[in-house]
């Protein structure tokens, strides 16, 4: 399948990018582990040798790939624990945030889109559509900061950062408050574009001959809208949503930075600064997996809903 090639390419490129940084970025893990003042070239050589960083680049890539196939994903330099463990610890936070945001954006986006299409031309439609355009035009980091201003500073009821209050990590109720602002921020622009997309897809169908004929034949406008338009428009909408999923699961660096959310995004930023390559490689693997999954889902849903759309 075409997708397989595309995905393998992406995955390969991600991995290669990390190794390139390994080779080209000044200041390797040795310097950061030893500290700037204890650092001597001899010590650096010794540490690099231990970490296997003094071999040639192709050799390092090959060794890594072999290790991965054997199930060994490397050890984090900074944490001195298996890199996979380090990534998995943070994955939960990212998945919770991404999953909830995805769900919210689907629900809100679809509803708003349907509503706007149903009331096309009215003030409701104009309000929703312009609102959606405005949301898309807002950078997500500023949306997040704006929400903090609103919820934490002015209203003072929502926390501005973190996962959960101290000592209450297990308390789901307490954690919910901490999720509100980040989830809203993350879901907003996807919901908005999904809404606009849904709206236009529905309008397109409504304008089609098929529907006009059906309407002429007397079926009530409502039923037309719901039964035919939705099913016809479902395919592209669902497919787009599935492709969006990749972004939600990859870990948003922006949202996590703004809200101090300890997920994969923050881990990526910190790991680049620390030159913690094993962790970066595992994160790349995860990103690749996510892209595969999203694409596969999109394909699957396409086939399921409308076999005619199945291509190549």
């Amino acid at each position: 399948m075409r997708r397989v090639v595309e995905v393998t390419l992406t995955l390969g490129a991600l991995i290669l990018a990390v190794f390139l940084v390994l080779r080209l970025a000044p200041g390797g893990p040795a310097q950061l582990l030893l500290g700037p003042d204890r650092f001597t070239p001899e010590l650096e050589e010794r540490v690099n040798h231990t970490l296997g960083l003094d071999r040639s680049l192709p050799e390092q890539v090959v060794r890594w790939v072999r290790a991965v196939c054997a199930g060994e994903l490397g050890t984090s330099y900074f944490h001195r624990r298996p890199a996979s463990q380090v990534v998995l610890e943070r994955l939960g936070a990212t998945l919770i945030l991404g999953g909830l945001a995805f769900g919210l954006s689907l629900v809100v986006g679809l509803s708003v889109g349907v509503l706007a299409a149903a009331r096309q031309g009215s003030w409701v439609d104009r309000l929703l559509s312009h609102g959606a355009v405005a949301v898309i035009a807002t950078p997500s980091f500023w949306l997040g900061i704006g929400l903090i201003l609103l919820g934490s500073v002015w209203l003072g009821i929502l926390p501005s950062a973190g996962l959960a209050p101290i000592g209450q990590e297990g308390d789901l109720g307490a954690r919910l408050r901490y999720l509100i602002l980040p989830v809203l921020t993350m879901a907003a622009s996807h919901a908005a574009s999904l809404a606009l997309y849904t709206r236009s897809a529905l309008l397109e169908v409504l304008a089609s001959d098929f529907v006009r004929t059906a309407r002429a034949m007397g079926t009530s406008a409502r039923r037309i809208l719901w039964r035919h338009a939705l099913s016809a428009a479902a395919v592209p909408i669902i497919t787009m949503a599935a492709l969006n999923l990749a972004h939600f699961l990859e870990g948003s660096i922006v949202v996590e930075t703004v809200f101090g959310w300890p997920g994969i995004g923050q881990l990526t930023t910190a790991s680049v600064a620390r030159r913690d390559y094993p962790v970066l490689l595992v994160i790349s693997l995860w990103a690749g997996i996510v892209v595969v999954t999203a694409n596969l889902m999109a394909d699957l849903l396409t086939r399921l809903v409308d076999p005619r759309e199945a291509e190549e």
Binding site: V133, P139, S193, A233, P236, M240, F259, I283, T302
Partner: protein, 328 residues
């Protein structure tokens, strides 16, 4: 002599020509030259006036070293808009190159290049920026490069589709049969038509580049302080929110206002219709289904896929054709 309906482009032109459109473009141009005209010093430190809220002495307040926010905002506009412009041009150039090659050359080149496009879309761009920042110290140059390198894909797709249509058009055959060389055909007939497409895409890309610059500088990987841009004025703003909210509100509102104004021209990050030739190409292959399977045409720098959607302003159902580039 163009042979496709340029109603999409004309639409844009009309909107741009309207009073509102001219006002917006005028304002943007003004922002670019304003720093040179107005005698404000964005670098002047004043330890006596640290973190002053907006007032008569400093209309928009000051930052943590007493620098005037209005001055920094004005200079920041030039940086942000300038970088966005440069990145847009880069993206257009790259996209046109790839798209044209794919359209004009044979199926193999086409396949390879389109895979390149797909891969480019799937690669997480912020991750790429982090990696680049580790190798090359961040600054305006690398920033323009990275934004350009992560946003040429939409242009490539559209140029390719346009080119394929043009290449198959009747008048091209006519010109060729009259003995015109391929390059002459390209130059005299195709390019002028492409400019329409490129203009629309370029303006969309401009919006997205502003967004990208803001996000990357906010994270600290773009233009470095003390040089101000709208993005890095907000760097770390989420902690200043409690003590100095004007530092957060002012640059953010400026950004939003610009982007919304651009969007209102139908040139927002969710752009309006593109030249109808796109739809025609598609409808030939799928007459029965009303929708092509969507594929994101582009991704904003923070990963949000953007699909071309018609502007809500469009009157009537007939105008509501969503224009979606196909995968083939």
């Amino acid at each position: 002599m163009s042979c496709y309906s340029a109603s999409g482009v004309q639409d844009i032109r009309r909107r741009l020509g309207s009073r509102w459109g001219r006002a917006v473009l005028g304002a943007l141009a003004l922002l670019l030259v304003l720093p040179s005209l107005v005698p404000l010093d964005p670098y002047r430190v004043d330890l006596e006036a640290v973190l002053v809220p907006p007032g008569p002495a400093h209309w928009l307040g000051t930052d943590d070293t007493g620098r005037d926010l209005l001055a920094r905002l004005v200079l920041g506009a030039r940086a942000t808009l300038g970088i966005a412009l440069a990145a847009t041009l880069l993206a257009l150039a790259l996209g046109t190159l790839v798209g044209a090659l794919a359209g004009y050359r044979g199926a193999l080149a086409d396949a390879v290049l389109m895979r390149l496009v797909d891969f480019g879309l799937a690669f997480p761009s912020l991750f790429a920026i982090l990696l680049v920042a580790a190798i090359v110290p961040p600054g305006p140059g690398p920033l323009i490069g990275v934004i350009g390198a992560t946003s040429w894909m939409a242009t490539a797709r559209l140029v390719r589709a346009a080119v394929r249509q043009l290449a198959g058009a009747a008048y091209t055959e006519a010109a060729r049969s009259l003995g015109a060389s391929p390059s002459r055909v390209i130059w005299r007939h195709h390019l002028p038509n492409l400019t329409g497409v490129l203009a629309v895409v370029g303006l969309v890309q401009f919006s997205r580049s502003i967004l990208a610059e803001a996000t990357v500088s906010f994270l600290g990987f773009g233009v470095q302080p003390p040089v101000p841009t709208w993005g890095n004025l907000l760097m770390g703003a989420q902690t200043a929110v409690f003590t100095a909210p004007w530092l957060v509100l002012v640059p953010g509102v400026a950004l939003m206002a610009t982007l919304v104004a651009l969007a209102s021209l139908g040139l927002g990050t969710a752009p309006t219709r593109l030249p109808r030739l796109e739809t025609e190409v598609h409808h030939h292959s799928h007459p029965a289904s009303p929708q092509p399977t969507p594929h994101p045409t582009s991704r904003s720098i923070d990963g949000r896929p953007e699909v071309v959607v018609p502007h809500p302003h469009q009157p009537g159902p007939a105008a509501g054709h969503p224009v979606l580039p196909t995968r083939s």
